[in-house]
């Protein structure tokens, strides 16, 4: 066995993992997630946080898909690969979702505290690599959240979920999504930089969860066939590959509508 790698403790469990509400994470789950983010921040290559944040916006090319027909599938693929990078740091961690229809606190607690246990909270903010900045002074992410009552309501999300047509559903959901970016403000309010904010991932996991819920409301409804074989560059996936989340190794902890997070 000379030359073989020692056994790793980082082998992922061979089971479906559940993404959970950020507000309902146990202390241990929060700590695992912080460790995963910190670990990824410490990796300076294409496994690291900065690399993955940069795919969405700066440095060029801006690869994310917004305001077009692949918005939901592209971001599902993006979350999948980022989550894999986090699981390389801490086996079994999953991306939590931020249910912003719960207006009790605005930014959820795990992301709102500057420090945790006397240490810097990696979910509060993030460095921005030099090539990812809109201006030279933008060294870290910032937020300027609005009044929580201005976040999307559960009723507004329910109305969007009522749509049976995929394009209408996706277009209206993207507007709500855009509104949350605007509400968080600061780094999150620009496509070019938003993915550097750790809160970005919780927001998009909520969007992904709503897409997961949509076909459960409308059996038979789905993504138009014309989109299924479209590639989701730069990821080695097509739209078809994103349709069944269980094939991607995850599920959502509560298959209920908004307001249950």
């Amino acid at each position: 066995m000379s030359g073989a790698s020692p056994p790793t403790t980082r082998l992922a469990p061979r089971a479906l993992r559940h993404r959970r509400s950020a507000r309902r994470l146990t202390q241990g789950q929060q700590e695992d997630f912080r460790q995963a983010i910190s670990g990824a921040q410490g990796v300076g290559d294409d496994r690291g946080y900065q690399y993955w944040a940069g795919i969405h916006g700066l440095p060029l090319p801006i690869s994310c898909v917004h305001h077009r027909e692949l918005f939901l599938p592209w971001h599902r693929a993006y979350l999948y690969f980022f989550e894999k990078a986090l699981q390389d740091q801490v086996a079994g961690v999953t991306l939590p979702w931020w249910d912003w229809t719960n207006h009790a606190e605005g930014v959820p607690g795990p992301y709102a505290r500057r420090k945790v246990n006397g240490r810097k909270n990696p979910l509060f903010d993030s460095p921005i690599q030099t090539s990812g900045r809109e201006s030279p002074g933008q060294t870290r992410t910032t937020r300027a959240p609005g009044d929580p009552s201005r976040l999307p309501s559960a009723a507004a999300v329910e109305a969007v979920l009522e749509n049976r047509d995929f394009f209408t559903f996706q277009t209206q959901l993207e507007s709500i999504h855009d509104g949350v970016h605007v509400w968080v403000a600061g780094t999150m309010s620009s496509i070019a930089t938003s993915a550097y904010d750790p809160l970005f991932w919780a927001h998009h996991t909520m969007i992904d969860r709503l897409w997961y819920l949509w076909p459960l409301r409308h059996p038979g409804a789905g993504v138009p066939a014309s989109l299924l074989d479209r590639a989701l560059a730069p990821f080695p996936m097509t739209v078809r590959d994103t349709l069944e989340v269980s094939q991607l190794g995850y599920d959502y902890a509560a298959a209920q509508g908004p307001g249950h997070g």
């Binding site: 898909v65 917004h66 209408t168 507007s175 855009d178 509104g179 970016h181 070019a192 938003s194």
Partner: protein
């Protein structure tokens, strides 16, 4: 780019036309600049730049997450005028957006007040409202669904 735009009057469905849903569909929205909220008013007079959801003519809003400007070289953010059908590259990042605003209750209320056509006013508001001249779209139409 403007901060506020008011359309010509848009014909509303006739009173005897039953519909379950009514949408304002905005086509050709620009998203190259700052992110913004677009507040939408129907049959309004004198909507100010600060008008909010308590305005009597407010019918809803939509949001645009913007690119925040161009970070490339000259021409990087110019949308090609034509697309070669054999060009398999992804669409240009700044291909314009569509937004769909459901206004069923608002249109029903206008019809009850015997309004037959209504102007649509859109007011853009950015973070901090420093630069609101971010609004540009090609057209808007009212769609009803029976």
């Amino acid at each position: 780019m403007v901060e506020k735009f008011t359309t010509e009057p848009i014909e509303l469905p006739p009173l005897d036309h039953s519909f379950e849903r009514c949408d304002l569909i905005f086509y050709g929205l620009d998203h190259s600049g700052a992110s913004f909220e677009a507040r939408v008013f129907m049959d309004a007079r004198g909507v100010s730049r600060d008008a909010g959801d308590d305005h009597r003519a407010y019918v809803g809003s939509f949001f645009i997450l913007g690119h925040g400007g161009c970070f490339g070289d000259v021409g990087h953010c110019d949308i090609p005028a034509e697309r070669d059908p054999f060009d398999l590259r992804p669409a240009h990042q700044l291909e314009p957006a569509i937004r769909i605003l459901t206004v069923t209750d608002a249109v029903r209320a206008l019809l009850e007040h015997d309004v037959k056509a209504a102007k649509v006013t859109v007011v853009a508001q950015t973070e901090g409202r420093a630069v609101n001249d971010v609004l540009a779209f090609e057209r808007v139409r009212l769609a009803t669904y029976a």
